[in-house]
């Protein structure tokens, strides 16, 4: 920790040297977090300085602090991975006309984060290269910012018709191929417009956030500290434990709560079990996208005992409800340990068998090698995380860079590949799967005795910040908490791993074949919708008819009203 203090001092000095009086306040809340308040006009210089120190951009957090400081605050979260330090650049924005300088030209990965901050809090990034709407629905009225403090959580703006996303213009001569918003191989809605020349993709446009549920607003206005973990674990149907752990850790860090060692070990074990079933699930879906359903059937069969195990440990196969601030609600019963070992032994034996079978499968190789290549350089630029980053040779892993739970005592092996293609991402995930099994075994062998929950007696102090990162199977999840007064966070910010990873898609499918698009997107393990119109051909009369958006909508609603009866 002394080392971290030293690094923090060096970073502080370097930034102070670059922007001088522009650095207004430097403070350290939790020991691994350096908070630098900078003058708005010096934000870009400070960012440049951090990038020179090889800092990696995580996310921006826009906070409506008008009741506290009479202005808006935008926090830029960076991570110095090798030095195990988080750096927060904080800058104020005018309460009447909030603007900040855009840093997207310096950090391409900040693109979405800045647009989201504008949509949700209303702080406009000046000089942003693509200032279109990102987060809010197309019919959401202009000038309403849901994450402002004076905005009621249950407000519903009137629905508006005839709205559509603002499309990006395709390059000269290219045709547009819409994929989504609902697309068979992708489980969730996401709308891609591929610009194609023949079979070759020459660009793309993305519109997403169809599943935006306003979870952060709910956490800040309705729920209390101890109720949020149950909402956090419903952010994702696969990484539930990851989000609840990340949230609890952020609050624990902000409040200075020390979690018992046994609880930290059990958190680690549960996180690794989650990785085991998630990677098996991904392997199955990747196979399914490629039309190789044997892999899907077999990996999902292997995965099922892990789900049953989770049910036995936690009381539910997916929404575990185990995490709470200060530790865990349920201990790991001694009787379950031999069962866990038996299940992971079986999963290991079968995973090795599947791996050995598919590495020699030339069809699979032909569909994944040199497909969807992401270069290490671009992966760094757009701040890609998790297996896609490691498969491109970027050696980052939140478990090693910012150790949490019991990863300081049971560290993971860093699994990297250099090629950056879909095949490399597959290899990284298989290797991680086997390593997770090793960690589960080691964790169980070294599991200390004792309590799993420390009682939180004191009230959680106000205005403290806590940043917690957790390595989800898809990459690093970031949770930021600023504590508030009425037993709930003042601001809770979540960044899921797909958020930065999706931003790498345009580069990955550039000059790729259309047929490779689904697996390239699938290889990111993304968490994805709508025909604006359909052309129908009457098979008997061979006449054509084009339905408009409105007609289709009316037809669908009518069908729903009749309970699906045609």
């Amino acid at each position: 920790m002394a080392n971290v203090q030293g690094v923090a001092a060096q970073v502080n000095e370097a930034v102070a040297g670059r922007i001088g009086a522009g650095l207004r306040v430097a403070s350290q809340g939790p020991p691994d977090t350096l908070r630098l308040v900078v003058a708005p006009e010096k934000l870009r210089s400070a960012t440049e300085e951090l990038l020179r120190l090889r800092a990696r951009f995580l996310i921006t957090v826009g906070i409506d602090t008008r009741p506290l400081t009479a202005d808006y605050r935008v926090l830029y979260l960076f991570s110095l991975d090798a030095e195990h330090l988080f750096v927060v650049l904080e800058c104020a924005a005018d309460p009447d006309d909030p603007h900040v300088d855009s840093i997207t030209s310096l950090v391409p990965g900040a693109n979405w984060a800045e647009r989201e901050c504008r949509d949700a809090v209303g702080v406009t990034p000046d000089g942003h290269p693509d200032p279109r709407r990102l987060l809010l629905a197309d019919d959401w009225p202009e000038g309403l910012f849901p994450l402002r403090r004076d905005f009621p959580y249950d407000y519903r703006p009137p629905a508006a018709g005839g709205v559509a996303p603002v499309p990006k213009q395709p390059p000269e001569g290219a045709s547009v191929l819409p994929i989504g918003p609902f697309f068979p191989v992708l489980e969730e809605p996401s709308y891609w417009r591929l610009f194609v020349e023949g079979e070759t993709v020459v660009g793309c446009d993305y519109r997403g956030f169809y599943n935006h549920r306003g979870i952060e607003k709910l956490g800040e206005s309705v729920l209390t500290y101890n109720e949020i973990p149950y909402l956090a674990e419903r952010i994702c149907g696969i990484c539930g434990f990851i989000h609840s752990t990340a949230y609890c850790q952020a609050v624990e860090k902000a409040a200075g709560i020390e979690v018992p060692r046994r609880a930290r070990y059990i958190r680690s074990i549960m996180l690794e079990l989650e990785r085991v079933h998630s990677h098996l699930l991904w392997l199955g879906i990747a196979g399914h996208i490629l039309g190789f359903d044997t892999v899907l059937m077999q990996t999902w069969r292997m995965r099922e005992p892990v789900m049953w195990l989770a049910e036995e440990i936690s009381g539910n196969r997916k929404t575990y409800g185990m995490n709470t601030i200060g530790g865990l609600r349920r201990d790991l019963p001694a009787a379950v340990v031999p069962k866990v070992l038996k299940v992971v032994d079986e999963v290991e034996r079968e995973s090795v068998a599947v791996r050995d079978a598919i590495v020699g499968d030339t069809t699979l190789l032909a569909r994944t090698k040199n497909v969807g290549v992401l270069t290490g350089e671009w992966a760094r630029q757009v701040c890609v995380v998790g297996p896609p980053a490691r498969a491109s040779g970027v050696p980052i892993d939140a478990r090693l860079d910012h150790p949490y739970a019991a990863y300081d005592e049971v560290p993971p092996r860093l699994c990297t590949q250099q090629a950056g293609d879909t095949w490399s991402r597959l290899l990284v995930r298989v290797e991680e799967l086997l390593d997770s099994i090793r960690q589960v075994r080691e964790g169980l062998a070294r599991l200390p005795d004792g309590e799993v929950l420390v009682e939180v007696v004191d009230e959680i102090p106000r205005d403290r910040i806590g940043i917690s990162v957790v390595e989800a199977p898809r990459g690093e999840a970031v949770h930021f908490v600023m504590t508030g007064g009425d037993n709930r966070p003042y601001r809770w910010r979540v960044r899921a791993p797909t958020y930065p990873n999706l931003q790498a898609m345009p580069a990955m499918i550039d000059h790729a074949a259309i047929a490779d698009f689904p697996i390239t997107l699938g290889s990111l393990d993304p968490c994805f919708s709508c025909t604006e119109r359909v052309e129908a051909i009457d098979v008997r009369t061979r006449t054509r008819r084009v339905y408009s958006h409105k007609e289709l909508l009316a037809m669908s609603r009518d069908l729903t009203r009749r309970g699906g009866r045609r």
């Binding site: 729920l223 109720e227 149950y230 044997t294 077999q298 539910n316 079968e350 020699g360 030339t362």
Partner: protein, 149 residues
């Protein structure tokens, strides 16, 4: 290529049939599974702790006059987190093993618990009498089988 295909075939053959005969044969959840909440009306003394911690806001507490506290469980919103069970000082709420809760009637998803309270001598509002015997002394008390004392 051929060996890869043979290996894959072998994995499939070894696996055999894995689907379960559910729902034609019962499939019991693991012990400790958190299913539908069950209430023990004799144990509840109306403290409302469960309503205080419920993240989904399933439990609504209101007082019907001076003697009756009504706890309404709109458990179609229940997320089965088990916080109510955890905080209940009298184990009046327990998570059952029941998971087959699908219904086409909304009323099936509402549970109503009426708890007999005592009026406060000063403010007149509902409060819990010092001992269970005290509340049996009050006029209007009903036992859980509907009898009156």
């Amino acid at each position: 290529m051929l060996t890869a295909k043979l290996r894959e075939a072998l994995i499939c053959f070894r696996a055999g049939r894995v689907t379960l005969p559910y729902p034609f044969a019962p499939h019991d959840p693991a012990p400790g599974f958190r299913g539908k909440i069950t209430l023990d009306p004799d144990r509840c003394f109306g403290c409302g702790g469960c309503a205080n911690v419920c993240p989904a806001g399933v439990i609504q507490v209101r007082d019907a006059g001076q003697l009756l506290r009504v706890l309404e469980f709109q458990w179609r919103r229940c997320t089965y987190c088990g916080r109510c069970e955890e905080v209940c000082p009298e184990q009046a709420i327990t998570m059952s093993q029941q998971f087959e809760t699908a219904t086409d009637r909304g009323d099936d998803m509402v549970m109503r618990l009426e708890v007999f309270m005592g009026p406060c001598q000063r403010c007149g509002r509902c409060y819990t009498p010092p001992t269970p015997l005290d509340r049996m002394d009050r006029t209007g008390f009903r036992t859980s089988d509907g009898g009156r004392s």
